[in-house]
């Protein structure tokens, strides 16, 4: 019964909080409206995510968010330094192919987004069978090290969260 009424508790919670944030004032009416949206939207969209993965450990999600936010700040400073202080011909860009252990589409999407937001890398595409991700690196002397960092720092954490 609960499963049918609230098919996606995390999405319901997120929608309610985002609604309260959008109206920016906390009143009982807004809360009820937010909860209503948080209940109706997941029910209406349930057919679109048939095999969604269960997010088992909320603390891991928080840890991941903190790691990524910190890396985004570092990424900004690094990329700014490369743009401002490196001469054009010293910038060595590489395409890097990173094999994936993740299999669920949701986890790969989060990984691709993370790669784009963090140090000097933009995720570009997947291989046709979805088991390998193509990353463009703005400047590096050691492409293998970038690949290993992505795998150990982000992919390993996502694997714990989604699988």
């Amino acid at each position: 019964m609960f499963e049918r009424l609230v098919p996606h508790p995390l999405l319901s919670l997120t929608l309610t909080l985002v609604w309260l944030g959008l109206v920016n004032t906390f009143t009982l009416g807004n809360l009820i409206l937010g909860v209503a949206i948080g209940l109706i939207v997941p029910m209406a969209t349930a057919p679109y995510w048939p095999d969604r993965p269960k997010v088992g450990r909320p603390m891991k999600v928080v840890e991941y968010a903190v790691v990524v936010l910190w890396d985004i700040v570092i990424a900004n400073i690094q990329v700014a330094a490369i743009i401002m202080f490196k001469r054009e011909k010293d910038i060595r860009s590489h395409w890097i192919s990173v094999p994936l252990d993740l299999t669920s589409a949701e986890a790969i999407t989060v990984l691709a987004g993370t790669i784009t937001m963090t140090p000097g890398t933009v995720s570009s595409t997947l291989s046709a069978d979805g088991r390998c991700i193509l990353v463009h690196c703005l400047h590096t002397d050691d492409p293998d090290e970038v690949r290993d960092t992505i795998k150990s720092r982000y992919e390993a954490r996502l694997k714990e969260i989604f699988e």
Binding site: V73, I77, I83, I115, H136
Partner: protein
């Protein structure tokens, strides 16, 4: 207004100005599309972030109530920036590159823009 809050607001605004400038400057300086993509996806995140922190601090000091809109802008920015970057990268690859310009996938299939997918979707095979 408290001096410390004013200091925080000015500092955030200056930082965001610097990073916004660097992001735009990167568009001018870098050589090709893929390199230019790095400037707006990263250097501007802190640029926008700085303005949002300043805005939150200012309205907190002025009205005494915390504004959540800025946090939501951050959230939406983090959701949309990687996706638009990915679209630009894909459009660039399909127009200007071929499989030979890219590193091998190390698998039986090539990169998605240049090769057909296998019959079953990847997450169905595990």
């Amino acid at each position: 207004m408290n001096f410390l809050i004013e200091l925080l607001i000015s500092f955030s605004l200056v930082v965001s100005g610097i990073f916004g400038f660097v992001g735009s400057f990167g568009l001018l300086k870098l050589r090709n599309t893929m390199q230019r993509l790095h400037a707006p996806t990263k250097a501007t995140t802190l640029g926008v972030g700085g303005v949002l922190i300043a805005s939150m601090a200012y309205f907190f000091a002025q009205t005494g109530s915390l504004s959540i809109h800025e946090l939501l802008i951050t959230l939406f920015l983090f959701l949309t920036a990687p996706i638009s970057a990915n679209f630009i990268a894909k459009a660039f690859m399909t127009r200007n590159l071929s499989q030979d310009d890219l590193p091998p996938t190390g698998r039986d299939y090539g990169w998605a823009p240049f090769d057909d997918p296998p019959d079953t979707p990847p997450d169905a095979r595990g």
